[in-house]
């Protein structure tokens, strides 16, 4: 059931993202069937176009670290959805959900798109293009 809910969410996200997406389509780069949910520490923030990105290190129970590269919307969309360039800082603890890239770089952090981003204090931060300027 949980899996079904996940798939439904993915389909809804993909459908919602598509019409509003700028730069590239969701489906061309990300796999709606590979949902990810994790906690980690921010190691880098790129306030850049065509997408802002943040990088996090996720540590598992054995102390092994996995590095992630999460795509967000572009800075213009983030600014219009409550962000400042300094809203996310190196060292911040965050909870992220999103979708894995179909194909990512062969080495380095795993590439994914952020669907939701929650700060350590529970603040939900706008993350990607699903609800950008389109109404």
């Amino acid at each position: 059931m949980k899996q079904l809910a996940c798939v439904i969410t993915a389909v809804v996200l993909a459908a919602a993202t598509q019409p509003a997406s700028a730069h590239h389509s969701f489906a061309a780069q990300y796999d709606a069937k590979q949902h990810v949910a994790l906690k980690g520490v921010v190691t880098k923030v790129e306030w850049t176009n065509p997408h802002a990105r943040f990088y996090i290190d996720e540590k598992n129970d054995q102390g092994e670290v996995t590095s992630w590269n999460f795509e967000m919307a572009s800075p213009n969309v983030l600014l219009r959805n409550g962000w400042k360039r300094t809203s996310l800082k190196i060292g911040d603890q965050v909870t992220v959900t999103g979708y894995l890239a179909r194909v990512g770089p062969p080495a380095g952090p795993k590439m994914a798109i952020a669907e939701s981003l929650t700060a350590a204090d529970g603040t939900k931060m706008f993350a990607s293009t699903a609800t950008d300027l389109s109404r």
Binding site: A20, A22, N49, R102, V103, D121, K124
Partner: protein
């Protein structure tokens, strides 16, 4: 203290308006010479995803079979947008654009990527070897009543009409008609005539809405384009 750290989820324009507010209503603002004042930051125009949805009801895109075949073969990575290349009309983006009309020129400033210049001084298009194929073509404009008409030729064949990838040849002739129908609304009508790729001219219609208290944000697409090498599969 907690409140201070909470990031507002509200969606605001750069100068404090709401990006999701309905456009303002009221009469068309006019310049001292009586012409409509087109100035403003606008959002929308034609559908970003598929301009065929802006055809008159019941019509389909009169594309020639060989061009449809070419379109069907497009991959996601063939989209000029994925490589930060220009997206001139009839293509629109989900981001705002500003229109500035002066006696000599009309300028379009598109937040996503680019600008356009339209000559308003009565000149004609260059012809023959003087007309270089370009991404945005050569545009001349004139008023017809309250409608600003822009005529463009001299395109290359590298741009798409939308995310779906409706293509065109370098023989594209585009006629854009912009009519501010009230304070907050701009009617956008475009007639596409490309005898190489389409069997007849056709017209698509949409509208843009004014975004009060908005200004354009810099968007330098090339600075960190990590996506292009990883786009997979056919276009939607």
């Amino acid at each position: 203290m907690m409140l201070v750290t909470v990031m507002p989820l509200g969606a605001q324009t750069r100068l404090g308006g709401s990006i999701r507010a309905n456009p303002p209503s009221g009469p068309v603002p006019r310049l001292p010479d009586g012409k409509p004042d087109m100035t403003g930051v606008w959002l929308g125009g034609l559908p970003v995803g598929d301009i065929s949805t802006a055809l008159p009801k019941g019509e389909t895109m009169p594309i020639r079979p060989e061009w449809k075949k070419k379109m069907d073969a497009f991959q996601a990575t063939d989209d000029p947008q994925a490589h930060c290349l220009p997206l001139p009309p009839p293509r629109f983006t989900p981001y705002p654009w500003r229109m500035v009309v002066t006696p000599a020129h009309t300028f379009f400033l598109y937040e996503m990527y680019d600008w356009r210049q339209v000559f308003m001084d009565g000149r004609k298009h260059p012809t023959g070897d003087d007309l270089d194929p370009t991404w945005k073509g050569h545009s001349v404009g004139r008023w017809e009543g309250d409608t600003l008409i822009i005529d463009t030729v001299g395109y290359n064949d590298k741009t798409w009409f939308d995310n779906k990838g409706w293509p065109h040849s370098d023989q594209l002739h585009l006629v854009e008609r912009y009519t501010r129908t009230d304070l907050g609304t701009m009617k956008v009508e475009m007639t596409i005539d490309d005898p190489v790729a389409y069997t007849r001219p056709f017209t698509v219609t949409g509208q843009a809405r004014l975004m009060p208290k908005e200004e354009l944000v810099e968007y330098i697409c090339d600075e960190n384009n990590q996506d292009a090498p990883y786009l997979q599969g056919a276009k939607p």
